[in-house]
Amino acid sequence: MKGADVTPMVEVTDLAVAFREAGHTTTVLDGLSLRVARDEVVCLLGPSGCGKSTLLRCLAGLRAPDRGEVRLRGEPVAGVPDGLGVVFQDYGRSLLPWSTVARNVDFGLPADLDRATRRARTAQALEAVGLADAAARRPGQLSGGMQQRVAIARALARRPDLLLMDEPFASVDALTRADLEDLLLRVRREYAMTVVLVTHDIDESIYLSDRVVVLSPRPAAVVADLAVDLGGDRDQITTRESHAFVHLRARAASLLRDGSDAPEPAQDTV
């Protein structure tokens, strides 16, 4: 994934974060380093509570690291950077229940845009996630999957070059989840952007990404960096049955379990 522009979109160097409360310190990240190229989709795969959400918060500028550095487009992160879209797991808490769907999407737009542009971008983003008809409704009147679509539309309306997603599909049912995964693959092709997605779901991490970064239990460190060569056209059924997918899943599972890589499978099994 080397383009003409070699500056990585995301560059994390020796990141360390510790939480201190009631006189006792929990080290969440300790010396983590990571690079994400432009237009790459990278999934951070790690066990629950390993610190991957904290890592994402550092990328979003919502938390200052205790040590180390985060650079976006070569610039050190201090505060929330521009051109960022973020989708949180908890759409119920991240959407504004008192605002309509359209107002929620509008919320993501920069304050200095004029009214006509805002309206056009909102409509376009809702169209992209298949919610053009729901603009006047309130989040509370929508299903969980639809609410998360609103959150995705809000991020897209901003035209981000970096989309950060924190367990975005963990709170919806399996069918909705598959829909949302395909939605992400589609919008990723339509909007040129880098995506960093945090998940603890092995299948999802492989299905969605160009690269899976496997993290260890807390404090999170990079255990392995798996390239996902499944091409651009993916399908919930055939892709997940493919030899490459199944093999990657076995490797990721093994790496997650005890940090050891699964052996190459016999090549004759198809």
């Binding site: 919502l62 929330v80 960022l84 973020v86 991240s94 008192w98 309130r138 989040p139 509370g140 009147q141």
Partner: protein
């Protein structure tokens, strides 16, 4: 809140929710009162029909519906309640937002607020009588001082408890300052603010009466004292009933506004 409770009603309460049944009980209570008062025949407890007639003569039989007495008593009282309550609302919401969103402000001001709030407002009437002119200024000061706390504390709690994920979202999308206040903090705190405003409204009514009992030349509280001192117990009761009716009407109006403004809190179901 009432709107929520009403939604949640099961099959068993359907009957009780019908206005006919509710007001039927009210009417029945009136009838019982009427009969009991007539049977007792005490000058201190006139029957409601006599109270209503006295009230009508006092306030509603005048040149253009309202009598001069109504202009002198009812309107100043209602005006003081609304003005005092509005000032409390503005101060309470403004200071409450500041306190709720600033840990430092809370730390500095918390002990002061706790003390000020613990003072029973009527004890300050003598102070306010010295500080402000007798009459409306003193009465407004009493009402404001007594009613500002529920709004202030409810607003502070509401502003402090805005969901951190919602705040993160505002942060990420660069929604800051006044824009964040208008689109996130205020609406998120609105249910608590309105609850505080309702407590304040009933307090404002109480303090209006109390402050009008002292050094006042008009208002319902004043009317109440005058009637009592001149042994006109029917007029005294009429003032009491009218105070109840005013309180009921103000609360009902606020509930109506609340149902419209906070419709989203029940929209999800």
């Amino acid at each position: 809140m009432a709107a929520v409770e009403r939604r949640g009603g099961g099959v068993g309460v359907t009957g009780a929710r019908s206005p006919l049944v509710r007001w039927g009980v009210f009417a029945l209570a009136l009838v019982v009162w009427e009969l009991a008062a007539r049977a007792a025949g005490s000058a201190f407890f006139p029957p409601p029909s006599a109270i209503a007639a006295a009230g009508w003569a006092l306030w509603f039989s005048g040149p253009a519906v309202l009598t001069e007495g109504a202009w002198a008593d009812v309107l100043p009282s209602v005006g003081r309640v609304l003005a005092g309550w509005a000032v409390s609302g503005v101060i309470g919401i403004a200071v409450g937002l500041l306190l709720g969103r600033s840990r430092r402000a809370t730390e500095y001001l918390a002990p002061l607020l706790a003390f000020a709030r613990a003072l029973p407002p009527p004890v300050l009437i003598p102070v306010f009588l010295v500080l402000f002119a007798a009459g409306t200024p003193m009465q407004l000061a009493t009402i404001v001082f007594g009613t500002v706390w529920p709004v202030l504390l409810a607003t502070a709690a509401g502003a402090r408890d805005v969901d951190p994920v919602t705040i993160d979202t505002a942060e990420v999308y660069g929604v800051a300052g006044l824009r964040r206040l208008r689109r996130v903090i205020l609406p998120a705190s609105a249910p608590r603010i309105v609850a505080g405003l309702r407590v304040s409204l009933s307090l404002a009514l109480i303090l209006m009466v109390v402050s009008e009992l002292v050094a006042s030349t008009n208002g319902l509280g004043h009317q109440l004292v005058v009637a009592q001192r001149s042994f006109d117990f029917t007029a005294m009761w009429a003032a009491i009933v009218l105070l109840g009716a005013v309180g009921y009407a103000l609360n009902a109006a606020l509930l109506g506004v609340e149902r419209r403004a906070l419709g989203w809190t029940t929209a999800g179901g």
